[in-house]
Amino acid sequence: MQPENIALKTPYLPVKGTIRSIQPMAADNYLFDITESTGSLASCKPGQFVELWVPGVGECPISVCSGRVGESIQLMVRRAGRVTSALFQLEEGDWVGLRGPYGQGFPMHEFKGRNLCMVAGGLGVAPIRSVWQYALDHREDFGKLILIYGMRHTTDILFRQELKFLLRRRDIDIFIGAEEVMGPELPPIAAQLGRVTDMLRLADISPDYCVAVCGPPVMYKYVIEGLKKKGVPDAQIWLSLERHMKCGIGKCGHCFIGGKFNCKAGPVFALPEIKHAPEAIECANGEY
């Protein structure tokens, strides 16, 4: 064997994490707080993701949803497929595997000193939460902050307690809206009916804003149109794209967009980078 081979470690080896707490947030949406002792995830940046492994079932890419990764990492997971369904069967104290952090997150250094608008649709609020937490932790580094968070039903709201607290702050403008009222109402001040695009119209966004967007694939076209109307240049719009990143390291090909691996070059892209890439923000089946 050649000596250089000894140093080559498999990039597919997860670290072991222990579920410290599981907090149901909405139907089928739980917040998992997972401790990990090696510190390998401490460098997580807003918008990056990890591969979460349920042994015997599989891995799935999950966005980091806290701006402060220390001894534990928070992951907001929706029960949507095989792996996440298995994860929902686990209990506090059970172990899982974690690989990462992967991908390019939101360019927080580029946002510094500028006004920042955060746009979240549905579960897209998870990575956006890491952005607002980071921005609020470094509040003096940023200009005005706007958070727009839309969801389908009022019952879908995630991070309700945290948002209630945020709504009391004067240094961030918050718009929360749902398309339909169901069950308990939204936090009162921001409660309104409407889509993300309706709230975009209401928000006082000037062309000097940087915008961080994350939501379901169907949302992007409309958000981009809305921001265009506000005069925000493409280069200031950053989108986190959803794909099934299976390996996370630019090998397996599942997340390929245009000419790039979403897991390595993304998942966060500046709009000009992907604007003309086929399949990037348009959907093959024409559904928006």
Partner: protein, 351 residues
């Protein structure tokens, strides 16, 4: 430059014996009336020197169709690295050398895929010249003349082979004492025949296209009706991907023991032509139909890595063309359609 040698054909068995001294030798072997496969060989008579394209490209030696990446046992996560045995792959044609070069780039790009890279490092590639058939179009893809990617390359110059080495390992092998009495220093006549061969080969291609504007063409023709026409005939069988020397996509799967306490995490070749390949949670599919998937595959082969790595991922071997049951993976024909002028249609638009 590295010294060049002449191997008389009658000395080939001795040359093969010397290669076997390095490790197991794999070469194209005839496995049916019209198909060949890279298999372990003991004797020169087993080697099908006439083979053009094997069923599977040599990527299978470094990137097997299914392999274990990690394992777990009773709460412990374990690295799983087999110690690769040294392999000599003999009879690799220029297209497949180029294909392995592309695989190397993808798997070596950080973080490197240790499973592939370890096996690749424990290997020697011995290239062999070939004459194109009616499906070969490596010339169009610029992969017809190997300038890198091999350890030793053999050009068939009738009564023997003209040998070049490129790597330190290949050079050491040819220069070594083991080759005494087997190889001769190439003389001027051999060099002339070598040059003649490659000129003759250049003119032997019967199909092809001009690759110069391929990048722009693939972008411009994203909505060309040919995609609908071909895609609607696609069976989504995925035949075109395992046979491709540069298709690297895989799935990661867990194989658990019955008790559930232990198991393995494996990777298996996947295909972008399968329905669920680009599906995300919530059943949203970025490429739901065969038209979307076929179009994606063509674009990836002919334009896909221009931005990420600066090369195209088709090497012109023709394997997809011959293995597609619907006859829609004819890259040359499709490129010719895409590149053809639409003047006639424009005229009718104007009137």
């Amino acid at each position: 430059m590295q010294p060049v040698y002449f191997l008389p054909k009658e000395n080939f068995p001795a040359f093969l014996e010397a290669l076997k001294g390095l490790g197991s030798v794999y070469a194209p072997v005839k496995v049916s009336k019209q198909s060949y496969s890279f298999k372990a060989v003991e004797k020169a008579s087993e080697i099908a020197f006439e083979a053009l394209r094997t069923i599977l490209p040599p990527k299978k030696f470094f990137y097997p169709p299914s392999e274990t990446l990690i394992s777990y046992d009773d709460g412990r996560i374990l690295e799983y690295q087999e110690e690769p045995e040294f392999k000599v792959i003999f009879g690799v044609h220029p297209c497949d050398l180029a294909g392995l070069g592309i695989m190397d780039t993808i798997f070596e790009d950080g973080p490197a895929d240790s499973h592939y890279v370890r096996r690749r490092r424990m290997s020697m590639l011995v290239g062999l010249s070939c004459m194109p058939d009616k499906h070969c179009f490596c010339q169009s893809m610029g992969t017809d003349c190997p300038e890198k990617g091999y350890d030793i390359f053999l050009t068939d110059i009738e009564d023997g082979y003209f040998l070049q080495s490129q790597s330190t390992m290949g050079g050491a092998f040819l220069d070594g004492s083991g080759m005494t009495g087997i190889l001769e220093r190439a003389r001027e006549a051999h060099k002339d025949r070598y040059k003649e061969f490659w000129i003759r080969r250049k003119d032997a291609f019967s199909i092809g296209f001009a690759p110069d504007n391929l990048r722009a063409t693939m972008d411009m023709e994203w909505d060309n009706p040919v995609w609908e026409e071909l895609g609607n005939r696609c069976l989504s069988c995925g035949n075109c991907t395992p046979v491709c020397p540069t298709c690297y996509c895989f799935d990661l799967v867990d194989v658990a023991s019955l008790s559930g306490d232990s198991g393995e995490r494996r990777r298996e070749w996947d295909s972008c032509q399968f329905t669920g390949f680009a599906q995300v949670a919530g059943d949203f599919n970025f490429r739901p139909g065969p038209v979307d998937r076929l179009k994606f595959w063509y674009r990836h082969k002919l334009h896909g890595f221009d931005d990420a790595y600066g090369f195209k991922t088709c090497v012109g071997c023709g394997r997809c063309t011959v293995s597609c049951p619907s006859g829609i993976d004819d890259i040359v024909a499709v490129v010719n359609i895409l590149q053809s002028s639409k003047k006639a249609e424009n005229k009718s638009d104007a009137t």
